[in-house]
């Protein structure tokens, strides 16, 4: 932090040097032109400013391209910015927009030569966004799009804002559901490494990005920006690959996918309204798991789906499968069986029997030392006993009623 004295000294120094031109003023007016030439790119000049357009084309795997072609025309969108906050002082200095063209992904990268050219960049970006049917981003909902909207607002381009496609597929939440648990994170880099098999080599880490643009502006070499352009291009390529992978998984590819969280996959299918497929994923996962806690989680979700679909028998059978080994999970499974019998099949006596089974299993688990912690057993015990008492009361009452009716 500056102290008042340092400040006064500095101010005095600034005052002394007053009159001499600022050292870091732009070196030459045609630096943008030089940059464009250096990058082998096109410089677009308009009355509102200049912007450098770098056009690149990336071949896509045949199956990926074919799958993506079935979707409404997408704009794969990613920005590089001068900071991580979405405040009004963070500027988009590089925006990439990719679209499918046959077997290839054609990417337009718009690079800002300097701050005053922002309006030109925004106009180009907005024009390309406007013709897309949907937007595909990674964390764009929280970051890229609000930032673009903020920039449009600062520059008064309100009409451009209205033309941004309504449909926005942010792949981050999907990736979180499918891979965060198995990969230990769901940054794009995690997914690239763990799922897409992408190894980044020539580009720079994200945290270096703003500094490189500032470095160029302060007179640094255009070379600083090459790695940033590569980084940004790879982001777009990965977006398309990722969307292809998601299509493959949805089309049944989940059967042979490594590192996939099946519960997440089932939820993903459910969001598509594909309840039967979701159940299949869960059954498949249940067959493959040995972890009782995970199995319980899978059963819970499956059973919810089955009950919602009016299939209490299948739901009950699913839980019955979980009661085989004497353990807390088995007791919990019996409790679920009881709940289904009571609520969905109106079978109070059956529910009582299931609860009694839960109680026996719990005793057994405790005796065999398989129960986990004493606290966990005690907690389950409480749940079981409470249900047992209530069901006994209700069953007795029902029998009295029946006896009265019979009399």
């Amino acid at each position: 932090m500056l102290t008042q004295r340092l400040l006064a000294d500095k101010l005095a120094a600034v005052r002394r040097s007053q009159g001499t031109a600022s050292p870091s003023r732009p070196l030459a007016a045609d630096r943008a032109d030089g940059l464009a030439r250096w990058l082998g790119a096109e410089l677009r000049v308009a009355d509102v400013g200049r912007v450098i357009l770098i056009e690149r084309s990336i071949p896509l795997p045949v199956d990926v391209a074919a799958a993506l072609a079935t979707l409404p025309a997408a704009c794969y969108f990613d920005t590089e910015t001068t900071g991580l906050s979405t405040g009004a002082g963070t500027v988009v200095f590089l925006a990439a927009l990719g679209r499918l063209d046959g077997q290839r992904l054609v990417v337009h990268q718009y690079l800002l030569p300097d701050y005053p050219d922002e309006l030109a960049l925004l106009r180009h970006v907005a024009a390309e966004l406007a013709v897309a049917e949907r937007l595909v981003t990674y964390n764009g909902r929280a970051f890229d799009l609000p930032l673009v909207v903020a920039r449009l607002t600062v520059n008064g381009l309100f009409s451009a804002m209205a033309e941004i496609p309504q449909r926005h597929d942010d792949l981050l939440p999907v990736a979180r559901r499918l891979w965060r648990r198995s990969l230990g994170g769901a940054r794009l880099a995690d997914v690239e490494r763990g799922v897409l098999g992408v190894e980044r080599t020539s580009d720079c880490p994200s945290w270096e990005v703003p500094g490189r643009w500032f470095g160029y502006l302060r007179g640094g070499s255009p070379e600083l920006l090459v790695a940033v352009l590569d980084h940004n291009l790879q982001d777009i390529a990965s977006l398309a690959l990722l969307e292809g992978e998601l299509l493959r998984l949805r089309a049944g590819g989940w059967r042979n996918a490594a590192a996939l969280d099946h519960r997440g996959m089932a939820i993903e299918l459910l969001r598509d309204g594909r309840g039967a497929d979701a159940l299949e994923v869960l059954e498949h996962a249940l067959d493959g798991t040995v972890d009782p806690a995970e199995a319980a989680g899978l059963r819970r979700l499956s059973s919810r789906l089955l009950l919602a679909g009016g299939e209490p028998e299948r739901a009950e059978a699913l839980w019955r499968d979980g009661t085989r080994r004497a353990s807390i999970e088995a007791a919990t499974a019996w409790v679920e069986v009881a709940r289904i019998r009571e609520r969905h099949r109106g079978d109070l006596r059956g529910a009582l029997e299931a609860t009694q089974a839960a109680s026996r299993v719990l005793d057994l688990a405790f005796a065999l030392g398989r129960g986990g912690s004493i606290e966990a057993i005690a907690r389950t015990r409480l749940i079981v006993d409470r249900r047992l008492r209530r069901l006994r009361r209700w069953v007795a009452a029902a029998e009295r009623r029946r006896a009265r009716v019979a009399a």
């Binding site: 004295r5 500095k10 005052r15 002082g89 607002t153 302060r218």
Partner: protein
């Protein structure tokens, strides 16, 4: 029995005033006669729904000041309203704002309050009026307590956004694009409690307003500012410095008031030798006890949190609650949790709480209704706050009483001897220095993040271009071809600094008495070493807690409930280093005077255990808390060498302490500022000057210009000190002048007089 008929309160007050033992202590007694209301006709352009709503709530006509404020707003003139507590000040701004919204529901207003509590209060009041008028106002507070899902609604649809300067600084302005609907249509900015924006905080707020105005210009808005302030000497000047535009002063109060007794009470001399008077706390307790017993709803203002707790427990002991009932006497201070505070405020309004002991936290416009009696225990430091505290008592009709109980501190004794100062002299100035480089530069960075700065623009200073170049050199800004400076740094500048550098964060007090830890409250970082050092007795709502451990790095103090017969009092050690001399005069033969930049460091080193009631010292302990530093400005006096050479070191040491004490009090009076805004340090062999030196420094980081102004007043200062000491009737020094002989030495007072004579 919840409320007492006004007549009974009136009789109780009359009894108190007539009590001969109390009369003996009274050094001044004024009676303010009742004042009838003065009304103005309804403004013709006021929306009829509002007029009807007010009519339904029993408002037959506007008071003159309310009508004047409405007229100013209608004519697009900025205004500052200065009228006492409970004079209907909020209507002065709510009326024009609601009227604007009623006309055009795109209209927007921004309300700034210094605290979240006041904002919450205002929300309730504003909603009540708009609901009554059927306007359907969309309004909400926007601060740290606003739930995330409400925030986005407030941003886009809030017609009146109620917030605080800190939030405006850190959350709203830097994200102005999310608020463009507010800024595009901003018609009014309301700044209430303007007088709290003084000193360093005020300097920051003035810069936040500069930033606000830049954003408004960008979106094509030109809002009217309506400010409200408690009585200070220069409300208009302060408002004009903060908003940097002409402001109309509205101070002609049309609200009625009942009869009011104002008493200045000086406890009798308890120890003639030491010049010590009876305790102001005990005297206030006695007055409060008598009033509360007689059913007079009373507020007592104590100067420290400890004093609040001590007084609360004394009063509770004296007036025990009936079995099974909660006590009707409550403490109220910073550090209580919001729910507890709301409950006490409600209790006061509804009359369940009959007595409250508060710090100045209740000085601000928190709605507790009006009480019958207010007792200030010790001069609160400024005339403005004295009137604020006294204003808490006083109904629109019926009699009320306000009492200032003087402590033995010099300024209190000065007031006891010269009460006319309180009644007749103007209250303090609200001084700010928005161009304090330290403050301004931070805001210039924040502002350039918000919008690029054209090289021709001025942000406060004429030298703005130089500052911009400097920020460019430091790598924060880039001057591009279009001659505008753009923020070009990864950081988010508004999060780099706080408007209240005085209290960057709080220390949380954790009660570990029960099975589960429980947060008791908080104290700010500056007060923490004094209040929650290890082994301190921390009193919260009258319950004593022993501080077992203070985790300074984690900002947590762990306490357990305890019951002992003492409280603790920590003492502060201060060192000072001169960094740079900015100006000096050698008024030989009167000695040297200099001013400049200093680094003040303070450390709490030890504490005393003081027994309740007898106030004797029953032990002590040491404290190890890291030293804290502050960079500020100072003025210092160096008595002439041939004068100081006459004395031995001990005599001089004592005399300098005495001189410091009288100089600080007198300087505060000359500058019309709070004594606490000035620090004093006497060094018998100052490292910087190599001679005995008396330093007076601005007690806020960066300084707000107090000692800079003092430097030009040093002749007056020395003369006034001399008058004060020579006219004091004591023989060897007393707390009212240089301090008791036991502290300044047997020849202390005489030496101070000689020093002052030599320095004039």
């Amino acid at each position: 029995m919840l409320t007492v008929p006004a007549r009974d309160a009136e009789e109780a007050i009359a009894r108190l005033v007539a009590d001969p033992t109390i009369e003996a202590m009274v050094t001044a007694h004024r009676v303010l006669e009742p004042r009838p209301p003065r009304h103005a006709p309804w403004p013709e352009n006021l929306d009829p729904r509002l007029r009807q709503a007010l009519h339904d709530r029993g408002v037959e006509a506007l008071y003159t000041h309310q009508a004047q404020a409405f007229a100013a707003a209608s004519a697009r003139r900025n205004a500052v309203v200065v009228t006492p507590t409970a004079s209907g000040k909020t209507l002065c701004y709510n009326l024009p704002v609601l009227d604007a919204v009623a006309r055009d529901d795109a209209a927007r207003a921004l309300y700034l309050f210094p605290t979240k509590a006041l904002a919450a209060d205002q929300l309730v009041e504003l909603r009540a009026l708009s609901d009554a008028a059927g306007i359907g106002l969309k309004t909400h507070t926007y601060d740290g307590d606003t739930p995330a899902n409400v925030r986005s609604v407030v941003r886009s649809a809030g017609q009146v956004v109620i917030t605080n300067p800190d939030m405006l600084h850190a959350a709203i302005l830097p994200h102005h694009t999310k608020w463009f609907k507010l800024f595009e249509n901003l018609q009014y900015v309301v700044i209430d409690e303007l007088h709290t924006y003084r000193g360093l905080f005020g300097s920051h707020v003035a810069n936040v307003i500069r930033r606000l105005r830049r954003i408004c210009r960008h979106y094509g808005a030109d809002p009217i500012f309506i400010c409200a302030s408690a009585t200070i000497a220069n409300p208009r000047e302060l408002a004009e410095r903060i908003i940097e535009a002409p402001v109309e002063l509205i101070d002609d109060n049309g609200a009625p008031s009942g009869r009011k007794h104002i008493l200045v009470v000086n406890p009798p001399v308890a120890n003639g030798e030491l010049g010590i008077r009876g305790s102001s706390v005990l005297t206030a307790q006695r007055l409060g006890e008598q009033l509360i017993r007689d059913g007079v709803q009373t507020i007592l203002f104590a100067r420290s949190r400890t004093a609040v707790e001590v007084l609360t427990s004394y009063l509770r002991e004296a007036i025990p609650a009936p079995d099974g009932h909660p006590s009707t006497i409550r403490g109220y201070r910073g550090g209580y949790l919001p729910n507890q505070r709301h409950e006490i405020e409600r209790g006061l309004r509804e009359g369940r709480v009959r007595g409250v002991v508060a710090t100045n936290a209740l000085e601000l416009g928190i709605d507790i209704g009006s009480l019958d009696a207010a007792i200030s225990v010790g001069y609160p430091g400024t005339i403005a706050s004295t009137w604020q505290q006294m204003g808490r008592a006083g109904r629109r009709s019926g009699t009320s009483i306000s009492v200032l109980v003087c402590s033995s501190s010099p300024i209190d004794q000065f007031l006891a001897a010269h009460p006319e100062y309180l009644f007749d002299s103007s209250p303090e100035h609200g001084l700010i220095n928005p161009d304090n480089l330290y403050v301004l530069l931070n805001h210039l960075r924040a502002s350039s993040f918000e919008l690029p700065v054209p090289a021709t623009e001025r942000f406060g200073l004429e030298e703005t271009p130089l500052l911009l170049d400097m920020l460019q050199e430091d790598g924060y800004l880039r001057r591009a071809d279009d001659d505008r400076y753009y923020w070009s740094h990864e950081n988010f500048p508004a999060s780099d600094f706080s408007l209240r550098t005085g209290a960057p964060e709080n220390v949380v007090i954790v009660d570990t008495t029960g099975d589960r830890h429980r947060v008791l409250g908080e104290v700010d970082l500056f007060a923490a070493p004094l209040l929650v050092h290890e082994k301190a007795i921390y009193i919260h709502e009258g319950v004593q807690h022993h501080v077992d451990r203070l985790d300074w790095d984690e900002r947590k103090a762990y306490v357990t409930r305890t019951d002992v017969d003492y409280y603790t009092d920590a003492s502060l050690g201060i060192t000072l280093k001169v960094l740079e001399v900015a100006d000096e005069t050698d008024a030989a033969p009167a000695g040297g005077r200099q001013r400049g930049e200093v680094m003040v460091a303070w450390k709490v080193t030890m504490f005393k255990k003081i027994k309740f009631h007898t106030h004797e010292n029953v032990g002590w302990g040491s404290i190890s808390i890291p030293e804290q530093e502050m960079h500020t400005t100072a003025t210092w006096l160096i008595p002439p060498a041939e004068l100081v050479n006459r004395y031995d070191r001990d005599t001089l040491d004592g005399a300098l302490i005495g001189l410091g004490r009288v100089a600080r009090t007198t300087a505060a009076l000359l500058l019309m500022s709070d004594v606490r805004d000035l620090g004093v340090l006497a060094q018998v062999q100052a490292p910087f000057t190599g001679r005995p030196t008396l330093y007076l420094y601005d007690a806020v980081p960066g300084g707000v210009g107090l000692t800079e102004r003092l430097f030009s007043l040093t002749d007056e200062l020395v003369r006034a000190c001399r008058d004060a000491v020579t006219s004091c009737p004591c023989s060897d020094g007393c707390p009212a002048c240089v301090g008791p002989a036991i502290e300044v030495g047997a020849r202390g007072k005489a030496t101070v007089i000689e020093l002052l004579a030599g320095m004039s």
